[in-house]
Subunit: 423 residues, 2 copies
Amino acid sequence: MRALGDTPVLITAGTAPSRNYPANQYPFRASSHFLYLAGLQLPGASLLLHDGYSRLYVPPPAPDDALWHGTLPGDEDLRAATGVDEVWPISRLALNLDTVPEPGRLPAVPVEDRTPADERVIDAIIDLRLQHDPAAIAELRRAVAVTVRAHAAGRSKTRPGARESEVRAAMEYEMLAADFTPAYSSIVTICGEVLHCHDRSGICQEGDLLLADVGAETDSGWASDVTRTWPVSGRFTASQRAIYEIVLAAQREAINAVKPGYSYRDVHLVACHTLCRGLRDEGLFVGDVDGLVERGAHALFFPHGVGHLLGLDVHDMEDLGDRAGYAPGRKRSQQFGLCYLRLDRDLQPGMAVTIEPGIYFVPAILRNEELTAPFGDSLRLDRLAHFADVRGIRIEDDVLVTETGCEVLTAAIPKAVDEIEQS
Amino acid sequence: MRALGDTPVLITAGTAPSRNYPANQYPFRASSHFLYLAGLQLPGASLLLHDGYSRLYVPPPAPDDALWHGTLPGDEDLRAATGVDEVWPISRLALNLDTVPEPGRLPAVPVEDRTPADERVIDAIIDLRLQHDPAAIAELRRAVAVTVRAHAAGRSKTRPGARESEVRAAMEYEMLAADFTPAYSSIVTICGEVLHCHDRSGICQEGDLLLADVGAETDSGWASDVTRTWPVSGRFTASQRAIYEIVLAAQREAINAVKPGYSYRDVHLVACHTLCRGLRDEGLFVGDVDGLVERGAHALFFPHGVGHLLGLDVHDMEDLGDRAGYAPGRKRSQQFGLCYLRLDRDLQPGMAVTIEPGIYFVPAILRNEELTAPFGDSLRLDRLAHFADVRGIRIEDDVLVTETGCEVLTAAIPKAVDEIEQS
């Protein structure tokens, strides 16, 4: 409110969408802006902030709510739990809106419908949510704690003959048991080269790598986002290990570059360089690494960005578009690969980001002449056959920027190589 | 199409709703009408049936779909899998609609917006979906098979000190491992008297009953819906056992009344009579059972209906309202209790219904003078204290009407009493 002067803010929590018929709903999840400020999952509620004063508007209980849903919290309970000044029935909202200037609205309306008040509010909430305070960091750690258990359960469920869906279920069990949910649709697949693979009907076979991109969300909405790739049999082949170690080195060097004041785009480029050097050393590229990276050669194997903001959304504030992810004056590149980078800001203490390099052998890219032709003989397509058993490897951790560098929040989740070296 | 003559049908599959931001979506679930006819979960697709000819319209792949989502099925794959005559890009739909009469639409639009064509189509789909064919029954059995495992897992996870969420997670694990989903938001609670209790933070204690209303949905959308109530310690108290046996008897007698030609409202009333007699025998009512049931006394302890249709929706075709659940000419009662009965049709072979009587000690009902006063001294509120450890008990099975009677599809899921008698 201090940042906004006389501009009020109206933040709606939203309602649970219907699944196959109106009364059969998906689990309710309040909008992240509402959760950030109110802290409770209250369907149909709105929060009006103006001039140092906060009012929460909630739907009144239906006549038979006590029958179907039991005793619900009263206004005084809600006031105490949220810290707002007043709680009102939602029917009062329209009346009260008549007494204040036009508010800025969250969640954000589409760009073409935004008023100047909307724009001011968007900038104010980005300022708040970019750097996490200790309470937010504590919630991120709660999300991580359950994600640690989930990944341990997934690894111990993996064996030749297991269904991908069984491994995923073992991981999500840990979230559900804690009364958490998956922060996003879990990816648990032996087809690591399909970046958003949600098919889960595959059977893990000896010789496969299993890629698990699985993170928990706390009951209050805070997310984690972790990927590990491990060999189904417990042993990499030589080609798998070679590529895994390149990705691991890229991740290590990218994490080393996460420091206050450094730009996230540079962190991305650190990863690109390490990946490209590794691919060249494995004979997949020929030539000068700097030149290859500049031309975007690495993106043939690493087409996505090195990560994104993390917070109440797994891609934090993605609903606000690049206004949240890109610092003022910075714009997305048009280059294949870099165009998928979701974040380009200078890092500051309290920001949480993922660091998730990967190497993928994607047929849709490597057989696409439009994408490969510019690299001519620098790209050694004849070497691909040697890596046929790799498919896709990604290693992703959640990283908190500190005053002096960074802390890997998810460090407790072992890398496949650690384990193999111990065994 | 035979039933509809020249009226075309346009059936949309729907799209996945967003969760906290547009790209983070809930798991997609096609509309049940679309699934019934097309059999595939195809987001954004539409089906146009007219004059003996069927056309499926699908969104074309986005340019980078192959990168993010891998190889998607082509038109010929879709044609073979769905059995339609033609597959077209969705952009063609508007053109083709220009060449046919105004179609009836599914899912149904709100009542006030319905055209005569919509009404004809609604009646035709109800006719199709009311009685399940062998393929549908096979799907219901697949849903049941996983629900059997889920309930077994839930019971073995239950112990004093376990969180409700752990028991629920153990049950849902079985669904996820099979690549199925819950058919509805699972209820796993020690507060059985809260009919739709979705709070899962409770801890199971010695002496509690745990009520688990949990059913799986197959990958093709077919539902099961099963409730069991079991003692956390493995042993009922005397009062819990007394009430449990009343519910069990009511369920047995209601199931015995499920036969072709019998009305489902009568099945409901059979349960009401048995429950009321049992409650009277336990001293909670005084007087003549027939008279008590006629006045709706049983609804003070059994406020909901004895069940509903089951199929592709857990409340099958509830999107069509009582037009599906109530036979032409029948209307919902205004009486408390009976007003919640979702189904009043004469049973026919191939119909699947749930049978789910219960007894609940709901403070919001039993302390509501408006509801209790009409029964005066027939209701013995002074006896309530004796049943304070019961809270709520429901027993629910999925029942298929056969040519001669019925088959309990979920008979493999043990009742609590069976187990105790064996021990």
